[in-house]
């Protein structure tokens, strides 16, 4: 009983201790290298503990955290079960890979910046583990908000760049807006049940209200339409950060919340329908936008939105396993893709696809890694993405007249097509710039994580059965009609991307690029912020200064005025005062007598 608790606490507290010590000991942090070493050690400890937990029983430890009316209303602690353990393994593994990769990638930063970067990473890992191991929804919310803050700090890591500063606050505001849903959901849940447990029975209307409120937060965190706008901008952060936070783990927290609170969502069929619609819509919409991006990171960012849409759709269709397994494989291959992209950017010095080309021969490891990631994302049979995407497609088959299935198959085609295009443009053909012509592979610290993630992207799919068993479900693979259609769509996309000339692709996607350039959703938010929020705040501030405060000033001014008006009565001449006394006394006497 004790061992799983101790392991879970190790996974949680090792990064916490490092984050704390780096916060209180700036002299260590500012030297850079020790901070990196400490952070990676902590991640290693977390990862070791997580793997060890796979072989332990479920366990739970909580301590009272808030007490009111002599009653405990909230607890904190750790909760070890199939869901939390498998997520913990994914998070700590990807975090470890990304941190090792960062050793090479961020090498040129000054020591204080290097130390700050790793301190943020330690804080992030703690927050994420806090979320994953949460025994109740309140602690999950705490972790949720904390990863939001580390995301803000890491997107704004290059804080001198105005675009990074803008992207950081935008990401925070959009997710914070959605998080109001989480907060209201928590309040409603607590008032209805007296707890923050993710496994309670609710009356149908409360269940729908609570889960819809939670889903609003999921839409923000997991970048679903219409709150997806922050994720492409978040690519302003360093590329390893994009891999860890904005592809593999943090954005998947929304999906994780739904998986975690599955018993609540299972009681709300209408919420699930909404999720299915939003998920499918986002998957298709984001895949279309990914088609026309010219920045390699933006392609991957929209692809993340799209794949998260798949997960949400699976959960909306009631398949907890499908959503969660796709989360897992996606974490591996998308982190792989981002790190490989980071390796390219490191070599070429630009995010633009048009500056790349012909990299296959000069960067063979990166090429192999990126290809494995891309084929996995395109769901080519045998790669991990194939198995998980198949689960998703199976889950939505037959729902809502199979329209979701058709749309997701179309999305699978688009996915394969845009990834194929990136492969062709970046790695094949002739170099398009001097940097690309002289690109070369980076050191081992960057190659090793690529290899580790590539291996997992290759094999993770074959672990579907044990993964399902961890959650008490059965999984048998069979190559049915849905899988065949999905595979065909993916292969068609890859083949078309290879055979069509780029001019043809540009012509075919012109309509989409118009749509992307307009980015109507973004402009709507921008407009409503400038024209509504700012104007409202300016007018309220004006009212405060000139109306509310104006009344007070007027009152003060009138008082002075009244004093000034009465001043002539005080003439300073004795006869006047004597006269007043006499008149006063006489009137008093008259009043007494005549009363």
């Amino acid at each position: 009983m004790m061992r799983p608790i101790l392991l879970a606490l190790t996974a949680l507290l090792a990064p916490a201790l490092v984050a704390l010590s780096l916060a209180v000991a700036p002299s260590v942090r500012r030297r850079g290298a020790p901070a990196a070493a400490l952070t990676i050690l902590a991640s290693l400890a977390s990862f070791g503990a997580a793997v060890a937990l796979l072989f332990e029983h479920s366990a739970r430890l909580t301590v009272p955290w808030l007490r009111t009316g002599a009653r405990v209303i909230a607890e904190v602690g750790v909760n070890v079960d199939g869901v939390s353990t498998s997520m913990l393994v994914v998070v700590t593994f990807v975090a470890l890979c990304v941190q090792v990769f960062s050793l090479g990638y961020m090498h040129d930063e000054s020591p204080p910046a290097f130390g700050r970067y790793f301190a943020y990473h330690a804080l992030f890992l703690f927050s994420m583990n806090l979320l994953v191991l949460a025994p109740n929804l309140l602690q999950l919310f705490a972790g949720w908000e904390l990863v939001g803050v580390t995301s803000y700090l890491l997107i704004g890591f290059y804080y001198k760049k105005p675009s990074a500063a803008h992207a950081a606050v935008k990401a925070f505001w959009v997710t914070k807006f959605a998080d109001m849903g989480f907060l209201f959901g928590l309040l409603t849940l607590f008032v209805a049940t007296g707890s923050f447990s993710f496994n309670v029975a609710l009356t149908p209307p409360v269940a729908v209200a609570v889960t819809l409120l939670f889903f609003l937060a999921v839409v923000g965190k997991s970048a679903q339409f219409p709150l997806h706008v922050w994720l492409p901008d978040a690519m302003e952060g360093p590329t390893p950060v994009s891999a860890l936070l904005h592809a593999a783990t943090m954005v998947a927290a929304g999906v994780f919340l739904v998986v975690r609170a599955d018993p609540l969502f299972a009681q709300a069929e209408s919420t699930r329908t909404v999720m299915l619609v939003v998920g499918v819509g986002t998957a298709l919409f984001a895949a279309l936008l990914a088609l026309v991006q010219t920045d390699i990171k933006k392609v991957l960012a929209y692809s993340t939105c799209s794949q998260l849409g798949y997960m949400i759709a699976a959960l909306g269709a009631g398949s907890m396993l499908g959503g969660f397994f796709h989360l897992t494989t996606h974490a591996f291959f998308k982190a792989l893709l981002f790190l490989a992209a980071g390796s390219i950017i490191h070599a070429v010095g630009s995010n633009e696809l048009s500056k790349m080309g012909g990299l296959a021969r000069r960067m063979p490891v990166t090429f192999a890694a990126f290809t494995i990631g891309a084929l996995s994302l395109a769901a080519v049979p045998g790669f991990s993405g194939f198995f998980s995407k198949d689960l998703v497609l199976e889950a939505v088959a037959g729902k809502l007249g199979s329209i979701p299935l058709a749309l997701l198959v179309a999305t699978a085609f688009l996915t394969a097509f845009y990834m194929g295009r990136v492969l062709v443009v970046a790695f094949l053909g002739a170099p398009s710039s001097d940097e690309a012509a002289h690109a070369h592979e980076a050191g081992w610290s960057m190659k090793l994580p690529l290899l580790a993630l590539a291996a997992l992207s290759l094999v993770a799919g074959f672990f579907a059965a044990p993964f399902a068993k961890l959650h008490g479900q059965a999984y048998h693979f069979h190559f049915g009609g849905v899988a065949a259609v999905g595979t065909a769509a993916g292969l068609l996309g890859l083949v078309l991307a290879y055979t069509l000339s780029s001019a043809r692709i540009a012509r075919a996607t012109r309509a989409v690029s118009e749509l992307a350039r307009g980015s109507a959703v973004d402009r709507f938010y921008e407009y409503s912020f400038r024209r509504v929020t700012l104007v409202l705040s300016d007018s309220l501030a004006w009212v405060d200064r000139y109306v509310v405060d104006g009344m007070i000033n007027l009152l003060g001014y009138r008082t002075i005025d009244a004093g000034r008006g009465m001043r002539p009565l005080q003439t300073g001449m004795a006869p006047d005062y004597v006269l007043a006394v006499v008149v006063g006394a006489a009137s008093l006497a008259a009043w007494t007598v005549l009363r």
Binding site: P26, W65, I73, P162, A165, F190, V191, Y557
Partner: protein, 525 residues
């Protein structure tokens, strides 16, 4: 055995102020050391008071009483309830940080420190006294030094109005420190007058020849009287708590005040107002409170959102923080108005959380202002490059202010919203939560404008990281923000029995009244 702990906490700063009078102005170090010693003694005393308070027994403890005018029933009575400990800690932490933050003050420092210490004595007194008249005296002692502190050591006209309304500013001399000091004092004194009327009415109607809060609480006041008296106390004390529309002294006052005075005023003094509304208004006048809470809560919700929107539009750094206080004090009043254990715990916790957070804000703003010589946010940018530590602590204050879990701000806001939600006051909770979101917009906008972006322009040649004693305030306050946020039970386990005691009284008295009034109706001929 009577303990003299509370007398020590209350008396140490006053005694130190007395000692300061005998020092010569040239003894600059001695003046500071005496002040710091007094602050430290009070801090240690507060910690001892918090830890030695017996939570299981709850109620009033460490009671000490000295007669002042026995014939009228006026006693100097100190006693600690569950709320006392956390509020003493709040005051102590802020005066300790405030004295250190004033280390470099260079004008009439003897008088400055003496006034600061007298003010703090008054604050301590309010939090622990159990005699209503003495309560009022301490309250005035805490409020009045502010006039001199702002009028003499403040700053004027940092950011002027532009455009057509410039004349209105010039006409009323808005932004002038004399104006700010005068406005603050006059508005608070009008409030005090209302309080005094209510106090005498309570004393007379109780007919027990005692100002003891316990005696007054058990007296029976007619419902009509309660309905008339409650708004006097609400608005009287509420003016100090920044209740809309009587909050306008606060932005001007806080903006003109020197750093440590802003820290104390926004950090502690505004809490006296909210404390007065709850401890005197709601506890003594349960029926009046019941009748008026719909208004109190609605106005508090207005405070939260209105303050946040006003803060967003400010161009002067100090005004942003000052308006954020107006917004956050709304959360305290919102919690109080719920009349639920969650709401009251949240309100008292928010007094502490907001106090520490806003003191941290003002300390950081003071450091920026001293180095940049301007408070106009538009001129700043890229300061994090040269003052990373200040930027980090400013960001920490921002995060607490927007209610990030793991900081003190989250605990209080969450409890308050929970109280409102449970009591069915959805229309108070929704603006409250929206206010927290708007807070996220304006604080992070300010952070980005001041600290992020391209490095500071050439005109800011004095910029630099905090040095020496300047680190004390951020470290002490920042540690408290995180500590109370991670482990709120340090305070909450004290606050909870306090709220339970005061609320129980309120609910019981109300129940008795209900019985009495139904009987009265029953016996009607």
């Amino acid at each position: 055995m009577t303990s003299h702990l509370l007398s020590l906490v209350v008396g140490a700063p006053a005694l130190a102020a007395l000692v300061l009078l005998f020092l010569r102005p040239e003894q600059r170090l001695a003046i500071r050391v005496v002040s710091l010693v007094a602050a430290t003694v009070s801090l240690l005393g507060s910690v001892v008071a918090l830890t030695s308070y017996d939570r299981a027994r709850s109620g009033f403890q460490m009671v000490e009483s000295y007669p002042i005018v026995p014939a009228l029933g006026i006693h100097l009575t100190f006693a600690l309830d569950g709320w006392g400990g956390p509020l003493l800690i709040l005051t102590s932490v802020i005066i300790f940080a405030g004295v250190l933050a004033s280390w470099s003050i260079a004008k009439r420092d003897k008088e400055y420190f003496a006034l600061l210490l007298i003010l703090v004595s008054g604050v301590y007194g309010v939090f622990v006294t159990q005699d209503l008249l003495v309560f009022f005296l301490f309250y005035e002692i805490a409020v009045l030094p502010m006039y001199l502190l702002i009028g003499i050591w403040g700053s004027s006209h940092e950011v002027r109005a532009e455009g057509p309304f410039r004349r209105a500013w010039e006409f009323f001399s808005v932004g002038d420190k004399q104006y700010a000091a005068m406005k603050l004092t006059l508005m608070l004194l009008v409030g005090s007058a209302a309080i005094l009327v209510a106090i005498f009415a309570l004393y007379a109607k109780a007919g027990a020849r005692s100002f003891d809060l316990g005696v007054l609480a058990s007296a029976h006041y007619s419902p009509e009287l309660q309905v008339v008296l409650f708004p006097l106390l609400w608005l009287g004390f509420g003016t100090l708590a920044g209740v809309f529309p009587f909050h306008t002294w606060s932005p001007d006052g806080h903006a003109s005040a020197p750093t440590a005075v802003s820290m104390l005023h926004a950090g502690v003094l505004m809490k006296l107002g909210a404390f007065g509304v709850m401890r005197v208004g709601m506890v003594l006048l349960p029926h009046g409170a019941r009748v008026w809470v719909p208004v109190v809560g609605a106005v508090a919700a207005v405070n939260v959102l209105y303050g946040a929107f006003c803060a967003m539009s400010q161009k002067d750094l100090k005004y942003i923080i000052a308006y954020s206080s107006v917004s956050h004090m709304g959360v305290v009043m919102l919690g109080a108005a719920t009349l639920t254990p969650e709401g009251w715990n949240g309100a008292v916790f928010q007094m502490v959380a907001h106090g520490i957070m806003t003191a941290l804000f003002f300390a950081m703003v003071g450091l920026v202002y001293e180095r940049a010589h301007t408070r106009a946010v538009a001129k700043m940018g890229g300061f994090a490059t040269v003052m990373p530590g200040v930027a980090a602590f400013f960001t920490l204050a921002c995060l607490s202010s927007l209610g990030l879990p793991g900081t003190a701000g989250f605990v209080s806001e969450f409890l308050v919203f929970l109280g409102a939600w449970r009591a069915g006051h959805y229309l108070w909770a929704i603006p409250g939560v929206l206010g927290a979101f708007v807070t996220a917009i304006y604080v992070l906008r300010a952070t980005r404008a001041i600290f992020w972006g391209e490095g500071p322009s050439k005109e800011f040649h004095d910029l630099g990281e905090a040095r020496g004693t300047e680190w004390a305030a951020p470290i002490v306050l920042g540690a408290c923000v995180v500590l109370f946020g991670l482990w709120p039970r340090i305070l909450l386990d004290h606050i909870d029995p306090g709220s339970a005691m005061h609320l129980e009284r309120l609910l019981r008295l109300e129940a008795i009244e209900r019985v009495v009034s139904t009987h009265a109706e029953g016996f009607k001929p």
